[in-house]
Amino acid sequence: MVSRLRAREDERIDRGRPVTFTFDGTAVRGFEGDTFGSAMYAEGRRVFSRSFKYHRPRGLVCCAGQCANCMATVDGRPNVRLCVEPIREGADVNGQNVLGSVDRDFLSAVDRFAGPFTPPGFYYKTFIRPRRLWPLYEKLLRNAAGLGKLNPEATREGRFEKEHRSVDVLVVGGGSEGLQAAIEAAQAGSSVALVDDGPEPGGALLLTESGDEPARALANKAREVGVELLCPARAVGVYEGNLVPIEYDNVLIRMRATEIVVAAGVVEQPLVFPGNDLVGVMLPGAASRLVRFWSIKPGERAVVITADDSGARAVETLKAAGVRVAATVDLRATMPETIVASGKKGRVTGVSIDGDSVRCDLVVASGSPQPAHALLSHAGARVDYDAGRGVFVPVEVPDGIRAVGGAAGDVGQPGLPRPSFGGSGSKAKEFVCICEDQTTKDLRYAHAEGYDSIELSKRYTTVTMGPCQGRLCHLNSVRLYAETSGTDESLIGTTTARPPWSPVSLEVLAGRPHEPARRTSMHDRHKKLGATMMWTGEWRRPYAYGDPAAEVRGVHEAVGIIDVSTLGKILVSGRDAATFLERIYPNRFGDMASGRIRYGVLTSDAGRITDDGTIARLADDTFYVTTTSTGAGAVVEWFEWWNAIWGYELDVVNVTGSLAAINVAGPDARALMERLVDIPVDADSFRYLDARQGHVAGVPSLLLRIGFVGELGYEIHFPSVQGEFLLDALVTEGADFGAVPFGLESQRVLRLEKAHILVGQDTDSESNLLEASMPWILKLDKGDFVGRWSAEQVKARGLETRLVGFRLKTDDLPVEGGQIVGDGQPVGRITSVRRSEAADAIIGLAWVPADKAVEGASFEARVDGELIPAEVTLEPFYDPDGERLRS
């Protein structure tokens, strides 16, 4: 049965362009311009979904995307509102929240049998006992709860973007007031954007007898004066700083506006009476939309009950569509005691008004139109109850926000309907909240149980918490509460309106996935050399080029080459540079000669270790500071912050990206360097901890003789653009010495052999210098420095725990983070552990109780559940006297 009316001039459908999709497997034919909902209604479908709790059949109520009644799953995407979702060829639409189909839902037994037994709080009260059955209950309840099903295997489809924009004036709502406000603002010279959720602006204008013409004229005028029309689009909410996120197709526009004009109009309110959720009971706007937009005859025989002019308009529209209007009630003129709808198989068959029954298949009913104030409330406006008209109106609208039209409270003089028309006798459910299936009885029950505040009642009954977000139930629930408690609505107040006002999909919020990677200038060479890459913070670095153990051997026996460009590199220069470093580091730099290097550790004022690196003095007033690989940004910020306080004459420049760095280390490092550099590198001219400038293979470089990996080594810092060139030169020239490129894994073994710590790996946000066994860093005989007082406090209280090296007497490798056990209790943890060929043992670093920090002390580590004896080693495991390092 197809119930399209004769073609009309301004219908939205294009009858020349049919579109076919399926609903629950059956083909549905509509036209371009239809929504899924309108096409299904036109083909005679009346039941669109099953209700949340009782699985009652539900049909179109608002036809404006405001309720939950037409929600279905479209092409795997749950909770799509069919009444507003444009039709798509071949789409696969399925009912949800049913066992069977929306027409035959086996879960509807709940309605018949469980109904009276599932008041609010039922689940909490019932399934709490016996406790041991909870896992079973939970599984069953979880299965029955929620709306729609997410496909956990689904992957991102399509492209989603975010746009950051600003305008002088943003108008939300494209009805006549919104369009007019936009036109005026644009004419006054402002940049203006207007958001409307319809396919074309017009709002309520589109539902009047005069048809599309006035709306189209206004919209054209707006375009002419330069208003940007965003539709269909939805304003998600109003946030601080007049920020309005707008969902516009697959783009989330973060729109910042100097002025926001809320012209969101009104939300038609359902009447509360027994049977008010029967299929065929709808709001006046829904009936009008069916007729005007899609030329659909909504029913055969209608009863119209409204509190304002929307009734008269509906009657006119219905009559024009050939619907017989069997009865009309204008609540301004007469206020019935009772209204009761009756039905068959969930569909309305008649209404009885004060006992007079009228047969019908359509009930068009609404109460006072509620100003759509949610966006104003987000912005901080208060709403006051207007007792004369039975609606909440916004007051105290903050600066930068303006409300116009219906949203501002301009709703005329509607009649004041009863909070419920059930009277005393009726047994049928009268719904206050159709999304959550809450009836007048449930609310009264909650009130009787002591939930006498509307905020508590909301949490207990979940009224207003469903998909309509209170659009169709907030006002009615407050009014019913006022009646139940014998107070007035202004004392009951409102629940808090929070964004989002309209549903927004997570993929739009997420936008395009960004996982920025930093690559060193030698990245491609590493890959050509066969490196496996790994993430370290935001950097991509070689894990190894082959066998890490062979790389370790190469460094110990010949020479190794590693890209250390990821080190943070900071130039600190200026008259006060030395004074500044003295004050920000716990160790001393003032007495350091130019051309020398010192290891430095940064601590916070709480004494916690935050970063480490080397500091080379290049000249009296110039220092070159390196930091950990992920620490450069934070250290620069830290330096700048303290200097904002201290005000030294100083420049801090982060040169991490502009300079690359390579460490050349191993017994043959000097021989290799000799072939490439233009400065003397013999042991006397270039000592351990010397910094020299020269050219390596012709590349201007800063050379630092330091030894993180424990062998004679040179760290070469040079312009990033020369990265590949210099790496190639070192690898080629190094071939004669058996040079090996080495990666992070072998570097970790090598540094562990020297018991060199990794900040963040061996230390955490609690570690201080003394307990991390670095007392020599701390120079308490100099003046004030960051962290000094806390260090003094630690010293005074005594050490509780210590970071020490250990050897394990086992072949099984414990995990990093593994437990250290004393007297059966966890007393510490392993922070680093590796097998070392050079030490011929499993070695590591661990936090142990301070009294264990003596050479040869033993403790137990948990490895795979077993306790393995370990022995404390205070010296480095390799070259303890540093002879190789200094050679």
Binding site: H164, Y239, E240, G241, L243, R256, G380, D605, A606, G633, V636, E637, E640, W641, A644, I645, W646, G647, Y648, E649, W789, S790, E792, Q793
Partner: protein
């Protein structure tokens, strides 16, 4: 947090571009008692109302500045560059 912060250097920019270390605290000058030290390190007034804070334009000009922010409604009333304690800027 979606408000805007007027950077003294760049003008009003979205808050996401900045970081803050919170309210300005008085750092003890002499060796403090354990109690005073803990107070300085851990205690925050957490005022409801206007407080002066350190802000840093991380994704912008990379400058630290002081901001008077109303913690109640996130209005930033004023921002300024610090006048250095040594008075030599």
């Amino acid at each position: 947090m979606t408000f805007q912060v007027p950077c003294p250097n760049c003008g009003p920019r979205p808050v996401e571009e900045f970081t803050t270390t919170g309210e300005v605290r008085e750092r003890p000058v002499e060796s403090p008692s354990r109690r005073d030290l803990s107070h300085y390190i851990y205690f925050r007034r957490n005022a409801r109302g206007v407080q002066t804070e350190w802000w840093y334009h991380r994704f912008g000009c990379e400058l630290w500045f002081l901001a008077d922010r109303d913690t109640h409604d996130n209005r930033v009333l004023e921002t300024r560059l610090p006048t250095s304690s040594r008075g030599e800027w």
